[in-house]
Amino acid sequence: MQAEDKFKDRIGGIKKRFISALDTRAREFEGLLSRIVRNEDAAQALEELRIGVHKIRGVAPTLGLPKLGELATETEQDINSMLAGDDPQTAAAKFLKSLDVLLNELKATAQQP
């Protein structure tokens, strides 16, 4: 058996646990978004959100979830723009939009059988 096939055979359990944690992850992100919008320690919340999104970006494609990886990449880039202070209103609008799409994908993936 080729290495890639062996790998796919072995990661079924990891993928299942990853997916089952996505709903919780989405709720965590919503909580962080709420803190950002209410400006309650917003900078810390944004950094926590970036770390969480970054982890999804790094793991999801390897588990065979490329769309989730792409959306996480886009959201992380938008968070980085926010952190870099690029045109605040445009950056915030892009960030809110990409995070919304990511949250929907997280919830949809979590419903996968």
């Binding site: 290495a3 990853f18 982890k55 970006r57 390897t62 990886g69």
Partner: protein, 336 residues
Amino acid sequence: MKILAVDDDEFILELLIEALGATGHGDVTVANGGSQALDLIAQTAQPFDCFLLDIQMPGMDGIELCGRIRKSEGHRKTPILMLTAMSERDYVDRAFLAGATDYITKPFDVLELGTRVSMAEKLNAEVAQAQASARTLDELTEQLAGQPSLDIAAPVDIQDVDGFLGYRAFENYIQQLKRGSYFSSSAIALKISNIEEIFDRCDAVSFVNVLSDIADAISDNTRGESCLFSYAGSGVFVIVYSRLKELIHEDLQFMIQNTILQMGLVYPDLSPLEVEISQSTTKNAGIFSRPGSLGLLESAIREVAEMQPPDAIHSKKPTSGYDFSNLKLQKKKYLI
């Protein structure tokens, strides 16, 4: 091969164990952060043969951890592969300057991971072979003094010079540059035109020391986060930089020669050591070139290798007043 993988994400650690296992590397220990990794390194009876480090971790990040591993007993040459979802050039440059051997982007591809770890295993075998013949600087010095047994064409790994990478790590760095970073990269090569004379008149230790002095001079004249260089052998240094951030002066060769002039280099018999430098034109990665291609380096090296010695100033010792304190490199660490 005994591997230590460090990442704060438990899923990545589990995936690494499975991916490495599937590619025949089953002896994997994991740590969830820099502190735990350092504890494991200190406690283990049998040293690790390879490290896989995530760059972005809370607390001690992978770059700091890489630097600390490099300074720890027995790991000066152990392969360190950085694992990162961040392709930003600054992070990658910092990782290599901290001592990384290679890097792998997340999400990782199983075959690529296996290939790169196998390359690390090969590197370990080469290092072990070299260490078998010379374990300490003193032993090496004794063996090499008076015996110019180095291969003049071989790359030399110089230690403790800002911006310098060993040639293997340097090639890995170029090959892993992502599309945007690669297209904004430029390379120039510098050739020590009289390298054969220097090689013939120096013993191996002195020859490495001269190269180290020249590397110091290059480093002094190319300071900047996005400028890295290496020694390819045969008297050729290659510099790669981001033209978005750095502007390498077209007269770099003269600036370096002036710096070397100030050093007052001498041969082992204390006669003045002249250094003649030729410089290639700047080579830019073309829009149609393949990202990660070594063509950028090769074209710079090829051009400078074919150049005739310059008519320009030579780096000579001052006509009077040797400063023998400049013979500092006798104390420098080096690897061959």
